[in-house]
């Protein structure tokens, strides 16, 4: 037999066996990663909001792989009895064990390389992830995964069940950390875990333990593959030897439920003990880490251990009976699926409950300062931990029922649980789901496995089974989104037709008032103390002219609105005989300036300016309607009247302002992350509805939609001419912005501020028709 | 008594049982008044369907070979031996007939057949005389 060929074939077989695990891990990891990134982006492809923690998925994948590969290559072969066949081939056991070890180490290297590559393609806030990272801790994490792989292989060779060997890895994985701490704590004053062990000491313990693990794996592997040893008995067996004292010696018969619980716990003894150890270690680390001045590393390990233990306890509730399809024993005898279901959960949940209660009791009795540990928390912490644990367990048992292979279940369940937790937290933060709704969703995984129990026990894993589970999964995903969907479907938003109209609106460029050289010698006195009316008027005139006729942008409404009282003053002073001609001139100038101001405002793309122009025009109409206005104003009357009567350009100006304002609003809105999209101003106005409960995405979305509808209404109004006066939309806009609309215009009483606070307040009011009449109906 | 049942030899199982019981009675293996095992025990012993055995017993009862004793099962009738010997003779006759039919089919003439039968009889009778003489001598 060609040894080289045999070896090559063996290598090929091992690689083919490992392949599915690698592929599965990466697919799931990518899915999870996409989920995580979606929340950190603005949903349009920018990842600038992602943070470093979001990429930890790629650090966790090799860890999971290291845990699972030993079980995959060794335990699975033992369970499927192909190991016997392998051992019967003319290859030496040394070669087999060596090949499996090397292939798994090689595959781990491949997985690490791929993860590393993936990590380096992402940039967080413009920087590559590899900059400024702590390479020491990264290296110790890599080394730890190698240790876990070796320990997992040794356990797989020793133990019979693949799931048991996986579970035992949980407490074993933390041995290097424990050993390093014990070795490094020569200072008796510092408690254990108070400082992180130095990377060097950690590395040393990891190397030592890895060496031990390799040795054990080698030994157990050879033992497994060579002939079983028989104890050295020299006498022939006698029938009496077979009868033991406690054969047929049982206590009273158990009720079915108790029998099932006995069967479950006896069957999964090793598994349960190992996971209990993991759970215990996890909570112990947590206590140390949080309250005895322990380090962050300890808390991280605590989270990993406790979470893995809870998750795998959930998986083992159903996977334990999968082996050799032994659940059929119960199915063949017509045992009630109901009873089987809760007896599967009793032991694992019981263990979690016991450890949880013990922890609570412990922290309730231990004092920190003057209050007990338990009370020193924010109540949200234990409650959210309990919720995490429940969600983790529920999803893990769901995965446990649905998968056929224990290794697949063990490896995918952590990923699924993390995805579920992530989804839940995002629904709270982004979609604004109320907590009671999420609590309602908690039992859905349990309902799923309960309902499918009959099919699962009978081995009828067909369409009905999958549809049931898929349907409940969809329900679990959709129910938290119901409030959000309700908002989106019930609240009107800007219709698409109007949105396109606004986007494609083109108007002729507005005509600005003629540029005039401004007298730049006039300067505003610093403290605004004017010597007399004349000087005040000069300064004001100059300021307004600078804006109206000059190139300068920006409107000082507070200053410019003073033009109006001045104009009124000049007109009233016309009664007074002295300086009548001066006042007349000033009056005419002010009216002219006001007219130019209106034109200038109409040319602006800010909606506030349009409404300000309305106010000014309203005033002008009143002025022009006064008796003798024509004589008083002379030529200005005509120009002003014509401008006032021009409804078309007014409408176009309004539309332009709305379109420009909407575009600017959109730009600001979408440039932010979904959770931070809250734009407050539109065209110079503050958007209405701000005082409702903001913050949750649902409310933001509701607000956005309502606002969109309001702008759509504004737009449609702006297109109308005479019909607008009685349009229903006027009332809707008034409601939205919270003002009372009245049709006519009250006379101006100084010093009422005339700066508009809400849009559209004066649109289509009676002054517009009066203005139209100015031209057609000369006095 | 021991039975040898061959399910595939063309004769119905119950018929085989009936014949073997009758032969046994004819030979003297089963004496008059002797009890037969119950249907249940016999079906277990022979690994035969109890209904089949029950049918055989019914047939034997109908033929007057067995009778039912209250509380004790089935026993051989006192007058059974004669009937069984007759039955045995009938069976032998039919077996002989089928052999002769086969001989005729294969082309042998009637005289040839008679010669063969006589020759075989001479040999066997001679041995039978010796055998019965042995039996007389040793008893």
């Amino acid at each position: 037999m060609n040894q080289n060929l045999a070896l090559r074939r063996l290598v090929w077989k091992e690689v083919r066996q490992i392949q599915p695990l690698v592929v599965l891990l990466f697919v799931l990891g990518l899915l999870l990663h996409t989920l995580v990134l979606l929340s950190g982006s603005d949903w349009r492809g920018n990842f600038q909001y992602a943070q470093v923690q979001h990429f930890y998925v790629f650090l966790g994948l090799p860890g999971l792989f290291a845990v699972g590969v030993g079980a995959l290559l060794v335990s699975q072969e033992k369970e499927q009895r192909t190991m016997f066949w392998l051992a019967s081939l003319p290859i030496s056991p040394h070669r087999i064990v060596m090949t499996k070890l090397l292939i798994s180490l090689g595959a781990l290297a491949v997985v690490w390389t791929l993860s590393g590559l993936a990590l380096s393609t992402f940039k967080v806030q413009g920087e590559s992830l590899w900059l400024n990272r702590d390479f020491g801790s990264f290296a110790s994490w890599v080394m730890n995964s190698i240790f876990v792989l070796l320990a997992g292989t040794a356990l797989a060779w020793k133990l019979n069940s693949s799931f048991a060997s996986l579970a035992c890895v949980v407490p074993v994985a933390v041995l290097p950390l424990l050993a390093a701490n014990v070795l490094a704590s020569n200072d008796a004053r510092l408690p254990l875990f108070a400082i992180d062990p130095s990377p060097a000491s950690l590395l040393v313990t990891q190397l030592l333990l890895s060496a031990l693990a390799i040795g054990l794996a080698w030994r157990f592997g050879l033992q497994s593959l060579s002939a079983a040893r028989v104890p050295a008995i020299t006498k022939p067996a006698r029938p009496e030897d077979l009868k033991h004292a406690n054969t047929w010696n049982f206590g009273p018969l158990l009720a079915p439920q108790s029998a099932l619980v006995w069967q479950f716990t006896r069957q999964s003894r090793v598994l349960l003990v190992a996971l209990l150890a993991g759970l215990f270690l996890g909570t112990w680390f947590f206590v140390i880490g949080k309250f005895y001045r322990g380090t962050d590393l300890v808390v991280i390990w605590a989270a990993i251990l406790a979470l893995l233990a809870i998750i795998w306890l959930g998986v083992c509730s159903f996977q334990g009976d999968r082996l050799h399809n032994r659940i059929r024993f119960l199915a063949d005898r017509g045992v009630r699926p109901r009873t089987v279901w809760w007896t599967r959960h009793l032991a694992p949940l019981g263990m979690i409950a016991i450890v949880g209660t013990a922890w609570m009791v412990f922290s309730g009795t231990v004092m920190v300062g003057s209050i007990s540990l338990l009370l020193s928390f924010d109540p949200i912490v234990p409650i959210s931990l309990i919720c995490f644990a429940i969600v983790a367990y529920c999803f893990a048992q769901w995965v446990g029922q649905v998968t056929t292979s224990p290794i697949v279940a063990a490896v995918t369940s952590p990923i699924v649980v993390v995805a579920a937790l992530f989804y839940l937290s995002n629904t709270i933060m982004l979609l604004g789901t109320p907590v009671w709704l999420l609590v309602l969703c908690l039992p859905i995984p349990l309902i799923a496995t309960y309902g499918a129990m009959n099919l699962w026990m009978d081995g009828q894993i067909g369409i009905r089974f999958w549809l049931w589970h898929a349907g409940l999964l969809c329900a679990w995903l959709l129910i938290p989104a119901i409030p959000f969907l309700a908002v989106v479907s019930t609240i009107d938003s800007m219709p698409a037709s109007i949105a396109t109209e606004i986007a494609t609106f083109r108007s002729p460029s507005p005509s600005l008032p003629a540029r005039v050289n401004v007298d730049s010698t006039v300067v505003t006195p610093p403290s605004q103390h004017y010597v007399g009316l004349a000087e005040h008027w000069k300064v004001l005139q100059s300021d307004v002219s600078k804006y109206v006729h000059g190139p300068r942008e920006g409107l000082l409404l507070e200053r410019i609105q003073r033009l109006i009282p001045f104009a009124i003053l000049f007109r009233t002073n016309l009664q007074v005989p002295e300086e009548k001609s001066e006042h007349l001139q000033r009056y005419q100038q002010s009216i002219e300036l006001l007219t130019d101001l209106v034109r200038r405002c109409r040319a602006s793309s800010r909606l506030l300016d349009q409404d300000f122009a309305d106010v000014v025009e309203c005033f002008l109409v009143k002025e022009l309607l006064l008796p003798n206005a024509r004589q008083t104003l002379g030529a200005t009357f005509e120009t002003t009247a014509r401008q006032l009567a021009d409804r078309d350009s007014r409408a176009i100006a309004r539309q332009r302002a709305i379109a420009a304002g909407w575009q600017q609003y959109q730009q600001q809105y979408y440039s932010r992350r979904p959770a931070e999209r809250s734009v407050d101003s539109f065209g110079g106005y503050t958007i209405g509805g701000l005082n409702r409960k903001a913050g949750s995405f649902e409310n933001l979305v509701a607000r956005q939609r309502r606002f969109g509808r309001a702008v759509a209404d504004l737009w449609e109004l702006a297109k109308l001419r005479e019909q607008g006066a009685t349009d229903e939309r006027l009332r809707k806009i008034a409601d939205y912005w919270g003002y009372t609309r009245f049709n006519d215009t009250t006379p101006f009483v100084l010093p009422t501020p005339i700066i508009p606070r809400v849009p559209g307040r004066l649109w289509f009011a009676s002054w517009e028709s009066q203005a139209a009449k100015l031209v057609t109906d000369p006095q | 008594m021991f039975f040898s049942i061959e399910p595939s030899n063309g004769v119905a199982i119950y018929e085989q049982i009936v014949r073997q019981v009758k032969f046994a009675i004819a030979e003297g293996t089963l004496g008059p008044g002797q009890l037969l095992p119950s249907v249940r025990i016999l079906s277990q012993q022979l690994a035969i369907n109890p209904n089949t055995i029950a049918r055989a017993f019914q047939q034997l009862q109908a033929d007057g070979v067995l009778e039912s004793l209250r509380g004790r099962g089935l026993a051989v009738c006192a007058t059974a031996a004669d009937h069984c010997r007759n039955a045995r003779q009938l069976i032998i006759e039919s077996r002989l007939r089928s052999v002769l039919v086969e001989g005729l089919h294969s082309g042998l003439a009637a005289d040839d057949l008679r010669r063969i039968v006589a020759h075989q009889l001479d040999e066997l009778v001679g041995m039978a005389t010796v055998a019965s003489a042995d039996r007389v001598a040793s008893s």
Partner: protein, 317 residues
């Protein structure tokens, strides 16, 4: 007498394969019913429908008066079921598994189980993992019998077992049958079936080609071997009441397996020119099985006949 099992028009279709294509049967109480068929004929599918592990595509099925689709658990509690690869807990001892199972049944289970184990001579303190194949099968049978079920369903229980173990199985089963219990047995071992069955059914490609009491079958089915002096001579057709199950030709001889042979036919044929010899004999169950399966196939291929079901007048009682 009510039927313990009653099936009408049962059909089971899988994707790409029709496991059962219209099956009718009824088993009365106290009988031993044997189901024969080649591998893949649909025997296990039928049993799985009866025990509620599979839902039929069409037709009705009633076991002990209950519908397996709805009350599968109740049925499984009342019957004893030994599947072809029974699931046992490897880590339990023989006595432990009996004690565990006894929780699900009424009192007396453990005592009966213990009796059976002692009778079978299986070491009670050994783990099931270390039992031989025959011992495992015995444990499975003991578990199924210990609650004295009125119906015992056995799916190839003795396949792969040595003759002694098979004999012990048969003895246990017959003990049960003798006390009036019903047994439904699916098997390959024709020799066993010939000994123990009351009613026989042969399943071929999803339909019954034969379903009748065993003794009637033996009487009704014959094998005719015709030796021809002229191989090309034609033979007359059989009567309309005679059904041909299989037909074979080998050189100068032709062999038919038929049902309902008219007795004078042999003589008639012998007198025809070209026919040298006609021999008629009864058929063994083995040969009948082969005729129903291989013979049916060849007849279909030659387009001679469509497969149909033989139902002989059933012997009541």
């Amino acid at each position: 007498m009510s039927d313990v099992i009653s099936i009408k028009g049962l059909e089971v279709h899988f994707r790409g394969c029709d496991a059962l294509r219209g099956v009718d049967l009824s088993v009365s109480s106290g009988k031993v019913f044997a189901l024969l068929g080649e591998n893949g004929a649909g025997k296990t599918t039928l049993i799985r429908v009866m025990t509620g592990f599979l839902r039929q595509s069409a037709g009705e099925c009633t076991v002990l008066g209950l519908n397996p689709a709805r009350e599968a658990q109740e049925i499984r509690r009342r019957i004893g079921y030994v599947s072809d690869a029974p699931a046992l807990y490897e880590w339990m001892r023989v006595d432990e598994i009996g004690w565990f199972a006894s929780s699900f049944y009424s009192d007396g289970f453990l005592a009966q189980y213990r009796d059976a184990i002692d009778r079978f001579e299986v070491p009670a303190s050994r783990k099931i993992r270390y039992l031989s194949k025959g011992q495992r099968a015995k444990v499975a049978l003991a578990l199924a019998l210990a609650h004295d079920p009125e119906l015992l369903i056995l799916d190839e229980p003795t396949s792969g077992l040595d003759p002694l173990v098979r004999r012990e199985f048969l003895e246990s089963m017959l003990d049960r049958a003798a006390t009036g219990r019903t047994i439904f047995l699916s098997s390959h071992q024709i020799s066993e079936v010939e000994r123990v069955a009351d009613d026989i059914a042969i399943l071929h490609q999803g339909k019954f080609s034969v379903i009748a009491p065993l003794n009637e079958l033996r009487d009704a089915i014959s094998e005719i071997t015709v030796s021809m002096s002229d191989p090309l001579a034609a033979l007359p057709d059989f009567e309309a009441t005679t059904e041909v199950l299989s037909e074979q030709t080998e050189g100068r001889q032709r062999r038919f397996v038929v049902r309902g042979l008219v007795p004078e036919l042999a003589k008639q044929w012998e007198q025809r020119p070209g026919v040298a010899n006609v021999r008629v004999r009864h058929v063994t169950l083995d040969e009948l099985f082969v005729a129903c399966t291989r013979g049916a196939r060849s007849l279909e291929e030659n387009g001679k006949r469509k497969p149909s079901t033989i139902e002989l007048k059933k012997h009541v009682g």
